[in-house]
Symmetry: C2
Subunit: 343 residues, 2 copies
């Protein structure tokens, strides 16, 4: 039997090579039981980890990790492209690199964090799509690992640094515009309650109605997508009866639709057209995300400053990595703007 | 004066720290003159590079580099998302990672290669958007660095491994379908000559017309985008006179449009609608890329198997990194398929 290796320790402890490497380089990411078993195997075999590798591990890698969501998020895919490009370009200006990884769910994402810290020595992470009971931010906070999220810590205090776009301000802009145009029956087409950004966008619409003294407007929650938008519009139009005069208050079908996404808005416009209601003339529709599809189709939409968000994520993370973190977590909320087109 | 450092060498040779690092770790990426100047400074100062760092540098990093193009490529942005996700997921299955970087042009991209090899010890690269006189592939080939491209080596022999989609087969499928539908005046809306993939797509359309005995059809070359498609359709319709019976041969406006991209196809359908010609009823339009926008709008389109392309890029690169490269460069050409909708 030769000199003990990572492989022989892994075999003796009945774990993977990666786990042995984790115990050596990032013991905090391994469960106590496994850690003890691996350490016992290391001692028994007299294994000595390569010191050059360990020496390097203690220096900064200058690498930032980003988990990319599976594609298939419809027309808003281009928003991710803008985010990635700005993130990479800003990181380069600070001599950092972006490394991608995938994960099927939150738990898989935390396993990937552990793996990337141990194997690549990654410095920190940028998270996207924060949500209620976010396992990922809790995991990172418990281990005091550097990260910034695109998305607020929904449902809890500001326990970590974040950058976000004020969705409520965006739907408020849309609603105020529709009110100024004379609309009185303004519906909201959004996602089921419990989604942080979805509830935020709904709140902006509701606040706009309240400020105009219009009370609670009609709303439908569906899963995101063109078909969802179509069925939401159908339900709202069926429930309201004939549309009648768009500029008269009172009951009747909505004459304007504020939507939580461009996909939903496209479905709404399709349903309106099928019923002979012309978007932009007989009814108004405003989407969210200002995707290229919205631009091509002349759909009005709320635009998020995605490149600014990505750049700010990198700047905040860099501050943390340089030890410049303030006592309170840094938080930056960008205001979106309304792009008016023909709908 | 203390022990000489990377900084003091950089200062003495009037170059950046990075260049000194390159001379030590990847001298092949530095020009001979600069290399000599830096080596002279190293000798004069008696600088000894950190051996732990050098030791690590000789091992594989398991990292693959990918240059992401600036966004703003319109509706086809989602194709990049699919590519990135499949690339990252496949790389992970082989225990490799994807690192992103940006570059303004080919020359900047080669400088980034040099930088990434020297600073991160990157193992190889995946290139996208190959073109005639591609500086990048020549640079990598000269240095015998591992890479695979999504895109053929246009205009030269197969000097490097590549994965691509048979664009000509895609436009041929589209043209054959239109011929079977009875169309006789089938136009092509593409990009200016000289673009490898653009010329390839034009060739498939021309071959389809020739096979049907229809001779040379009308064509217009414009820059990509919805406005380009709109002006191309206007020129084709103006030149052809009234459309007349779509199913009669002879002169007259085209009744069908094969387009090199979905953006062009969207512009064509917009121009048709403005003239009271109904896409799908009075005229046929087929795009290229099968973007979500095409799906939302009911636009027929040629679909590329993007996830398969990305996975194959990683598999080929892995073979090269494992020293399994065959005598001839590996090449894989995927066949696209036609997605028929209402246009």
């Amino acid at each position: 039997m030769g000199r003990p290796t990572l492989n022989s320790v892994a075999e003796a402890a009945a774990v993977s090579r990666q786990t042995v490497s984790n115990v050596i380089n990032s013991p905090e990411v391994v469960s106590p039981e496994t850690r003890e078993r691996v350490q016992a195997a290391i001692e028994k075999l007299g294994y000595r980890p390569n010191t050059a590798a360990r020496q390097m591990r203690t220096t900064r890698s200058q690498i930032i990790g980003l988990c990319i969501p599976p594609s298939g998020n419809g027309v808003s895919g281009v928003v991710l492209d803008q985010f990635l490009h700005s993130l990479t370009a800003t990181a380069e200006r600070y001599d950092h690199r972006i490394m991608l990884f995938t994960a099927a769910d939150d738990e898989a994402e935390t396993r990937a964090y552990a793996d990337l810290i141990a194997s690549v020595g990654i410095d920190g992470f940028v998270l996207t799509s924060t949500h209620h009971d976010d396992l990922r931010t809790r995991w990172l906070l418990e281990r005091e690992l550097p990260f910034v999220s695109f998305g607020r810590p929904w449902g809890v205090e500001d326990t970590h640094p974040w950058v976000d776009v004020d969705g409520a301000a965006g739907t408020r802009l849309a609603t105020d515009h529709l009110v100024r145009q004379g609309h009185r029956r303004i519906a909201f087409v959004g996602w089921p309650e419990g989604s942080g950004s979805g509830d935020d966008r709904r709140a902006g619409w509701a606040a706009g109605l309240a400020a105009a003294g219009l009370g609670a407007g009609p709303q439908v929650a569906v899963f995101d997508g063109v078909e969802g938008g179509r069925s939401a519009a159908a339900r709202l139009l069926d429930a309201g009866g004939p549309a009648g005069d768009p500029f008269l208050p009172g009951t009747g079908a909505p004459t304007a639709f504020v939507c939580a996404s461009d996909s939903l808005a496209l479905g709404v416009t399709a349903e309106l057209r099928d019923r002979g209601i012309r978007p932009g003339a007989d009814a108004a529709v405003i989407g969210f995300d200002d995707t290229p599809t919205a631009s091509v189709l002349g759909l009005s939409s709320v635009a998020q400053p995605i490149a600014d968000v990505a750049a700010e994520c990198v700047r905040q993370l860099r501050g943390i990595l340089r030890g410049e973190a303030p006592a309170e977590p840094a938080t930056t909320l960008f205001t979106p703007h309304l792009v008016l087109r023909t709908t």
